[in-house]
């Protein structure tokens, strides 16, 4: 059962990592809007061209 002394701390560390990653994603605004980003996958690959500033 000594293996538990290694595995359990490892799992705790992974949890900590997961929570840190989630907090980072929330603060990054990734959960603010869950609908619009789905549309970006449907975009063409090339970005739309900028208009001529003089126009």
């Amino acid at each position: 059962m000594n293996i538990l002394l290694v595995l359990v701390p490892v799992s705790l560390a992974l949890i900590g990592l997961a929570i840190w990653a989630f907090f980072w994603a929330v603060d990054d605004g990734q959960f603010d809007d869950l609908d619009t980003p789905g549309f970006h996958a449907l975009d063409d690959d090339k970005a739309p061209e900028r208009e001529d500033p003089q126009a």
Binding site: V8, I15, D32
Partner: protein, 800 residues
């Protein structure tokens, strides 16, 4: 759902277009019809810019493109000082964007931003309509960005940064994540204890217990913090409720487990504590998000109104100042088409204002020099120069708001059924636990602790506490998906027993916008289509309601020297002739109610214009009549109200002031009726607040929306039935859930008291019971299918 007349709908905004409308364009090989030139320009621009995908991506149509708005003052120094912040050499500004209906709108605005030079990003939250624009002030201007958004139908307004709401939402999500991950881990470690309870040596057992404690601690204190905070608030108000119960259960389970861990007792209950925090937290999160987004949207709309004014200093120079800086006696200018931010005395020439927000009368009101113009009215054809007489809460509008505010405060005093039951349940369970402890301490001291913990675990009111929030959360999110936003938590409870439905007329039962019904040409030289085109040209750029009726016939006829005459009509030169369009006695010295187009030779054409019933109104009202008495109350002329009521087969009361409407609703309530009021204007605001349930149409005045219990994001009357059905369904499910959880506790507590049930078995039962309650509530998410009315059959026109 927008229904089209005669099969034709504006390609851009979906508004119905009559068959002889002339505004068409050829887009990618298909001819499309439009309601106005603004919508056509928007569609053409999107196609040319390679953004036509928008039309296939969107799930809801947008609003129509309104007449060009001037954003010139958005670049002024005063405006910048008030609303634009500079960050890293770039400028940032918070906007609320009108007409956002679905995620495709947000996608389109993002794309438009990327196409504009100098714009770093436009980030839109489609749920709240909040947008943050980041741009390089050296390369572009705020007014250019605003004008571009307005040109495709998304008129922006300046708002305050809703950062607080966003921070709270993020915080809640983080708490939920910690609870979820922590609960799973704690379950895993305590589960190991259950399975190997007898074989484990004491060292391994304590190791697992300490690890479970490590995981449970942040869940209880970080994720569970809102419960403890709520409990503290309830206790300080001396109204113990759900939060007290939850905090006690979680706190006791946690503290008892810590004690057991430290002294090496028989069992720990970390899993019960964390599962409880997670399940209840999740239900509350869903419900709060659905409601918070709605209120956030309303606050955003509310904060757009009147934040700054153009003050004229002694030298005649205008500068933008915040409303809070305005003082009695200052002089301000209000551009035509804008709403007046203060009460003031008119100093410029006589003008017409639209007071429909205040009085409900759509007819423009003339104001002479020296007259008082009230805050909330809209300058129609000329800019106004005003001397400020009252600001903020001293204005008539401010007083009205304050009055509504106090009404609400009183209504909120009643406590909810669930809260009262919870308080009694808490007390009862604490007494039972104490008695159990006392009994066993005297009989068999070693069994006292496990018995008390088993009682608390069995009594742990997870299922009970979840019963109401879970069904409310499911109902709120289902309704929100259909565009029904419930802004007051107890509105659903009150919507279950409605037996009276009171409607406003204009804008609620009718579309609230005059439309052309008939057109006759009386002059062979000017055919009907030409007469319509000239009329549309004369009305172009005017804001009074009549102008709307002609907009779809505008095909670009040149007009010169156009001017509007208050209360009479418009005149202008087309092809060298002077044309008049307006009331018959003015334009052609003839009589009748029609709108008459005349030139020097006399009457050329007659037009009949009227407001029209909403396509779904007949169906919806017939549907309501199965369970309620329906009545229309309006400030309009009794004949017009009677016509609408006649078509719908309902009772009518006309020419009511807002105060009389409110009194009528209060009288109905005093007779024991439960009244649901549907309205859209500021004049309905008091009656919306006075009714048991106030429903505001999404297209109506912002202040009415802010004081309603329920907001319909889509102007579809059938949603009222969906609201009532869902409320009743939610009540049924809540009762089933309460019945189950009370029955479960009654059944299980005796076993725990007698010591026959071990604490861990009680905890497992608790989890299964919670799951059952949650799944039962999720049944609410299946919405009933709404029937779609056939628009062609119901193109009922009424004069209004």
């Amino acid at each position: 759902m927008v229904v089209a007349m005669n099969g034709a709908a504006c390609y851009h905004c979906g508004e119905s277009v009559s068959a002889h409308a002339l505004i068409r364009a050829d887009l990618d090989g298909a001819e499309r019809a439009f309601c106005c030139t603004g919508c056509r320009a928007a569609a053409e621009w999107l196609h040319q810019g390679g953004l036509a995908d928008y039309y296939t991506l969107r799930s809801e149509v947008t609003g129509r493109v309104d007449a060009a708005q001037d954003f010139g003052d958005w670049d002024s120094a005063g405006f910048r000082r008030l609303y634009v912040h500079d960050i890293d050499g770039q400028s940032e500004c918070d906007l609320s964007i009108g007409n956002i209906r679905c995620a495709a709108c947000a996608w389109l605005i993002d794309r438009v931003g990327r196409q504009m030079p100098g714009v770093a990003a436009i980030t839109v939250d489609p749920a709240t309509t909040h947008a943050r624009v980041r741009f390089d002030p050296a390369r572009t201007s705020l007014s250019a960005i605003a004008a571009r958004l307005a040109a495709i139908g998304y008129a922006p307004r300046i708002v305050q940064d809703p950062a607080d709401a966003k921070r709270e939402r993020r915080q809640s999500l983080k708490r939920l994540a910690v609870a979820g991950l922590g609960a799973m881990q704690a379950m895993m470690f305590t589960e190991a204890l259950y399975w190997g309870a007898d074989e484990l040596d004491v060292g391994t057992r304590d190791f697992f217990r300490i690890v479970a404690m490590l995981v449970a601690t942040p869940v209880v204190f970080y994720s569970g913090f809102p419960f403890f905070r709520g409990a503290w608030r309830e206790l300080s108000l001396r109204q113990p409720g759900m939060d007290v119960l939850v905090s006690l259960s979680v706190g006791l389970a946690y503290v008892a487990s810590v004690i057991e861990t430290l002294r090496g007792g028989p069992a720990v209950y970390f899993d019960a504590a964390v599962m409880f925090v997670f399940l209840l937290g999740a239900a509350r999160h869903v419900e709060a998000i659905a409601r918070a987004r709605a209120t956030e949207r309303l606050q955003l709309i509310a904060s757009t109104q009147h934040q700054h004014a153009d003050r004229i200093d002694a030298s005649g120079h205008a500068s933008a100042v915040a409303l809070s800086e305005l003082r009695h006696g200052d002089r301000i200018r209000v551009a035509s088409g804008e709403s007046v931010p203060v009460d003031g005395r008119l100093q410029s020439s006589a003008a017409r204002v639209d007071e429909s927000l205040l009085t409900g009368e759509a007819e423009p009101v003339p104001r002479a020099i020296g007259d008082t113009v009230l805050a909330g009215s809209v300058a129609l054809d000329t800019p106004l120069l005003l001397e400020v007489t009252a600001v903020g809460t001293a204005t008539r509008l401010g007083q009205l708001r304050a009055r509504i505010g106090t009404g609400l405060h009183l209504a909120a005093g009643s406590t909810e059924l669930g809260q009262r039951i919870a308080a009694r349940f808490t007390l009862a369970m604490l007494v039972v636990a104490a008695l159990t402890g006392l009994y066993w301490a005297n009989v068999d001291a070693a069994r006292a602790m496990p018995a008390v913990l088993a009682v608390l675990a069995a009594a742990c009111p997870c299922a009970f506490a979840l019963a109401l929030p879970a069904s409310l959360a499911a109902a709120h999110s289902m309704l929100a998906k259909h565009g029904v936003i419930v802004t007051r938590p107890d509105a659903l409870t009150r919507a279950t027993r409605i037996d009276r439905i009171v409607c406003d007329k204009t804008g609620t039962l009718t579309e609230g916008r005059p439309r052309l019904i008939e057109a006759f040409s009386l002059d062979a030289a000017v055919p009907r289509a030409r007469a319509l085109a000239i009329a549309a040209a004369l009305e172009r750029g005017h804001r009074h309601p009549l102008a709307h009726a002609f907009r779809e016939f505008d095909c670009g006829v040149e007009v010169e020297a156009a001017q509007a005459l208050a209360g009479s009509g418009v005149l202008g030169q087309v092809d060298g002739q002077t044309w008049r369009l307006g009331r018959a006695d003015w334009s052609a010295a003839s009589d009748g109610d029609d709108i008459v187009l005349a030139n020097a030779g006399g009457v050329v054409a007659r037009f009949r214009v009227a407001d029209r019933l909403r396509a779904e109104a007949v169906d919806a009202v017939r549907d309501w009549q199965r369970f309620a008495t329906v009545e229309v109350m309006s400030g309009d002329h009794p004949d017009a109200v009677a016509t609408v009521a006649g078509v719908l087969g309902i009772d009518a009361r006309g020419r009511l002031t807002p105060e009389q409407k409110r009194a009528a609703i209060q009288a109905l309530r005093a007779q024991g009726h439960r009244v649901l009021m549907i309205g859209d204007g500021l004049n309905d605001t008091e009656s919306l607040a006075a009714a048991d349930v106030g429903v505001a149409m999404g297209g109506g005045a912002a202040i009415a929306q802010c004081h309603a219990d329920v907001l319909l994001l889509r102007d579809d009357l059938r949603l009222v039935r969906l609201l009532i059905d869902t409320a009743q369904h939610a009540r049924r499910i809540a009762r089933q859930n309460l019945g189950w959880s009370i029955g479960y506790h009654l059944m299980i507590v005796p076993f725990a008291v007698t010591g026959l049930m071990s604490p861990w078995l009680a905890a497992v039962g608790m989890a299964a019971s919670s799951l059952l309650v949650t799944l039962n509530a999720l049944r609410l998410r299946r919405a009933p299918v709404m029937r779609v009315p056939d628009a062609r059959k119901q193109a009922t026109e009424v004069h209004a």
